[in-house]
Structure formats: C-alpha cells, structure tokens
C-alpha cells in the first residue's frame, strides 16, 4: 500500500510505486448496453460458467442428456441409410420434456432466487438499470438458456438429416418448426419458472414448486385428454382444449396452429388456435407483470 512505497523515494530506482487512486475518464455505457451485459452474464451463469465447479454439473449433465440420444439417432440414420427420418424435431422436444422441466427447476432459482436470497439485488437496484430491465434481462437469459438446451439437439438432428441425404426442404422446414416451437416453449417456461423462483428466496422451495407445477399439470393434462379422447382421434373439442392445461401441451398445440404443422395428426381450428394463442399471451403477460411487481416490492422494501 501507499505506506510501503512512499512518494519521497526516487521514481527512477525501478521500484513499483503505488500510483494512488486513479479516476476513470473512459466511456460509460447506457442502460441498453448494461442490460445486455447482464443478459450475457446470466446466460453464462445458467450453464455454471463463472461460478464454482459444482454449479456446472447439473446444467452440463442435462444438456448431455438432451444431446446424447440425438447423437445416437444421427449415427443410426447415417449408418443404416434410412429412407425417412426416425423422429420429427418437434416431437423430440416433446418426448424430452422431463429433462427440460428439470433444467428449468434447477436454473430458474439460480437466476432469480439467488440475488434475493443473498441480498445482492440491492446492488443492482442501486445502479442505473431499472428493475424492469433487470427482470427482463434475467427472463431473456432464461429463455436463451432453454433455447440452447432445446436448440443444440435439434441442430445436431438437422445436420444428421442432411448428412443422411433426406430432402433438404422438408428437413429445413421441420428444423425451423422445431426451433420456433422451442422458442414458444422457452418463453412460456421461463415466464412461469421465473415468477415462481422470484416469489421465494428459498432455492429448494423454488425447485420443488417448479417441478410440481410442471409435472402435475402435465400428468393431469395427459390423463384428462386420454379420458376425453379414448380413441386418440382428437376430434373432441373438450379433449383439444384440455391441452391448455400444461405449458408443454399448450405451446405444442399453439405451435401446430401457428406453423401449420400436422405431424401430430390434428391441428386446432382457427377459433381454437386463437384461444390457445390468447391463453398463451395472457399467461406470459401475467407472469412478466407479476415478476415486475415482485421486484417493485423488493425495491421499496
């Protein structure tokens, strides 16, 4: 410190000097750039980057669980020279929904509960970004993190399909529909998971609550649909609307409607589709509103 390197020493003796406090004269970035930096840092955190080794385990493990099956599928379809792709990207996402749910349950609290639990939220609130910027950056980061989880296996599937010389137009369309569906799902899951995680500073409680909400709603939806539609024709209007009951079925059904994707064997009518779109927007809107309210309360607390 300054006492050790007092200024009266000759500056040309080659000693390292404490040059004292230096003021910062460089550029200061605006709200947008700051929010962007928070978004990038949060996406990194969602995969454990820049955090302790232990916190990398869960996200990397779940990403591996998402990727390994597609790697095997791609290997098979290239080696066996199959006539048609063994799985549609959008369906792959739907099959692996428990993995996505686990990822959301493990990482949403990391992004949202952590700053509340350790009080570091105060340090953000005392800086230029508004609490809305903070909430949206965290939400955006969770959407991107989920999209990475969903997008990487889909991309491998797409590359594999091209290597296996399936029809390029069809494959590109399926990949695009899968990815767009993945985006719909990511936005919906991030909103719900983010709101639950922000509601409690207790990490374990948030994990349990997210898992419960996703699994219970999914099981209830699948069971109700099965009861209402025993022949699996999906002709019954009630059975179709039952798909509103869980985030996975809601975003999947909305995807088939928006992207005219008939690979499930049925598509909602225009009216039904608009109902799905409306419910989707209302849920996302309510969650974002709730999240914002939550941080308003924190700021005033």
């Amino acid at each position: 410190m300054s006492e050790q390197f007092a200024p009266q020493q000759n500056p040309r003796t080659g000693v390292i000097h404490d040059i004292g406090y230096r003021h910062y004269e460089g550029p200061r970035l605006g709200r947008f750039a700051i929010t962007q930096a928070l978004l990038v840092a949060s996406v990194r955190h969602a995969y454990g980057l820049g955090r302790s080794g232990k916190s990398k385990v869960m996200p990397i493990l779940l990403l591996a669980v998402m990727v390994v099956p597609v790697a095997i599928i791609v290997g098979i379809e290239v080696a066996m020279k199959l006539d048609s792709p063994p799985i549609i990207p959008a369906h792959y996402v739907f099959f692996l929904q428990p993995v996505i749910a686990l990822y959301l349950a493990s990482q949403a609290p990391q992004l949202f509960s952590r700053d509340l639990r350790y009080g570091s939220i105060v340090l953000y609130l005392a800086r230029p970004p508004r609490r809305t910027d903070y909430a949206l950056a965290k939400l955006g980061a969770l959407v991107i993190a989920l999209l990475i989880l969903i997008g990487i296996p889909l991309f491998i599937l797409y590359v594999g399909a091209l290597l296996a010389k399936f029809d390029v137009t069809d494959m590109t369309k399926e990949f695009a529909v899968g990815l767009a569906g993945g985006l719909l799902l990511s936005i919906l899951l991030a909103s719900i998971g983010g709101l639950i995680a922000a509601a409690t500073p207790r990490r374990g409680f948030a994990v349990a609550a997210i898992i419960t909400v996703l699994i219970v709603s999914f099981t209830a939806t699948i069971t109700t649909t099965a009861i209402l539609d025993p022949d699996q024709t999906m002709d019954s209007t009630a059975a179709r609307f039952a798909n509103l009951g869980s985030p996975f079925t809601l975003s999947r059904t909305l995807g088939t409607f928006l992207f005219r994707d008939d690979s499930d064997g049925w598509m909602p009518t225009t009216t039904q589709g608009l109902v799905f779109l409306g419910v989707y927007l209302v849920i996302v809107g309510l969650c974002v509103w709730g999240l914002n309210r939550r941080y308003a309360k924190v700021a005033h607390g």
């Binding site: 709200r31 700051i34 840092a41 700053d115 340090l123 005392a126 800086r127």
Partner: protein, 299 residues
C-alpha cells in the same frame, strides 16, 4: 454547489413518518449521518438513490432531481448497503467486475477498475476465492470496493463498521477518510455511534425521529466555547487562582482539577499568565476548553 441538497423532504408510511420536512445540505469531504435506529437514515439514503419516492419535498443529488433523474444519480453514486449482499459462490474479483459493468463500464475497464479498488481496500490474494469463505472484515471491504468500482462522484456508506472488531473498525474508518480526502470523493456515512464518526468526518448531520436535529461542521460542534481551562499544581493552588482571577474581574469557576475562565479577549490570556506568576503556582496546562461530540448531543 452542494453534493446533496434536500428541501422539506418528507416520507410517510401508513403507520410512521420516516422523514419529516428534512432540509439539509451535504458538501464535499466526509459527512456523518448520525441517528438512532429508526431515525430515518436508511430511508434518506434510499430516497437519495431514487429507489423510493418521497411523499413531499425534493432532493437534488449531484445536480439531478432524485425523482426525475434517479437513473443519472445512480450512475454517479456508489452505495454500500448495511446488510449482507454478497453471493457466496463467486470470487470478489468476478463480482466486482460484474457490478462495474452493471454501472456502465465496458468489460476491460471494469476488470482494471476492479483490480484497482480491491487493492485499495486491501483485499489481496483472497480476491480470487469464493466469497462464501470470507470473514466479516473481508466482506465489508468487498462491499466498499463495489461502491467505488465505477469511480463514483459520491459514495453513500450505510453503517460500514457494522459487525467489525475494534481493529477492523479503525481500518474501515481510515479507508473512509482516505476516500474523502486522497480519492477526492465526497462521502456520506451513517452510523448510530457518534464517537466513531468524530475522527473521520468534516461535517455531522444528526437525525432524530426523521427530523433534523443538527447539521454543523465538526469544528463548530466541537469548537472552542470561549472558555479557557487552566490546571495548576494541588487543589489549594486551584482555589487561590480562582479567587485571584475573580478579584481581577474575570469570570472563573472550578471544575474538577481545572479552573475554567471565560475568554473576553487576548487580555484574558495575559491575566491568567500574570496571575499564575504572581501567586508562584506550578502551571500544568492552559488550553481552550473543547466539547466532545457526545457532550454536544447528550442534551
């Protein structure tokens, strides 16, 4: 121009009035904000940061109104909160760099500044370890470092000595003093202990129940009262001196071993010198009688 100026600043909650028509100015140097718990110190800091809106009145910080220009204020101000605010699973370096970016520094500048301020607060090798393993003293240093990382034009420190042992407290106060003088950054520091602010502050603001009790420079608060304290050998000497001074027309009284003489001008000093010499007393000391801060506020 004052760094902080409030005019009739009032904050009412449904049940309590946290700030009651507070009008106060804070200039450069180190300003102490003193008051018991619940006196409105933290509420004032939150209003100054633009985090909560006042019920009435206004506050100008660094030329910006806190209600309309909260964002501009927060870009220029460093804030050290009272409570724990450090996540345990990241290192101090990582965290301070990140918060520098959150204040608008580009990534490279944020890294340089973080290294600089962590060195200034005296956090050396430990800065690469996760903060979960830090002692209270180290945590307080990181909290101070994050408040300085963006080179603020004002720092607000909420009870920075909380939870520190006496040695740590002295080090923290020395750091605060350096920030206000050597670094040239105005400091507003809160404490419920008047005594510890006495050594570091240039100016003291005292709040009580949301009202301004006093706002004065330390020199004025502890300044000369116009009384000279004289101490001579043995108590009989004290009484003889007191009598002689009274006889000469000076107002004097005994207090403990001292004789307190009211200063009416330079002649008082001459009178005391001559009287002591005439009586042949052993003079121990002559000094201006100063108040200590505790006395000033113990009323």
């Amino acid at each position: 121009m004052p760094v902080i100026a409030t005019t009739a600043l009032t904050k009412r909650y449904p049940r309590v009035t946290a700030l009651d028509e507070l009008t106060v100015e804070v200039g450069s140097g180190v300003t102490g904000l003193v008051g018991a718990n619940g006196a409105g110190k933290s509420t004032l800091l939150k209003i100054l940061l633009g985090l909560i809106a006042p019920t009435a009145g206004s506050a100008i910080v660094l030329g910006h109104d806190v209600v309309t220009g909260g964002e501009a204020v927060r870009a220029l101000v460093g804030y050290m909160p009272e409570h724990d605010c450090l996540p345990p699973d990241v290192s101090a370096t990582e965290f301070v760099v990140h918060l520098g970016q959150m204040s608008g520094l580009p990534a490279t500048a944020a890294r340089e500044r973080a290294a600089d301020v962590l060195r200034h607060v005296g956090l050396d090798e430990a800065r690469y370890r996760p903060m979960g393993g830090y002692s209270t003293g180290m945590k307080q240093r990181v909290k101070l470092a994050q408040a300085l990382t963006h080179d603020p034009k004002l720092v607000l420190l909420d009870e920075p000595t909380n939870g520190l042992d006496p040695a740590g407290r002295d080090e923290m106060l020395a750091l605060v003093r350096r920030i206000g003088t050597e670094f040239g950054i105005p400091v507003l520091i809160t404490s419920h202990l008047l005594g510890e602010l006495e050594s570091v502050c240039d100016h003291i603001v005292v709040l009580d129940g949301g009202r301004l009790l006093r706002s004065e420079s330390k020199a004025a608060l502890t300044g000369e009262t116009g009384v000279l304290a004289v101490e001579v050998r043995d108590l009989s000497g004290r009484d003889r001196l007191g009598a002689a001074l009274a006889h000469a027309g000076a107002r004097a009284r005994a207090e403990g071993p001292l004789v307190l003489v009211e200063i009416t001008g330079d002649a008082t000093y001459d009178l005391v010198r001559d009287t002591v010499a005439e009586l042949g007393l052993g003079l121990v000391r002559v000094e201006p009688h100063r108040h200590r801060l505790e006395e000033v506020f113990s009323v």
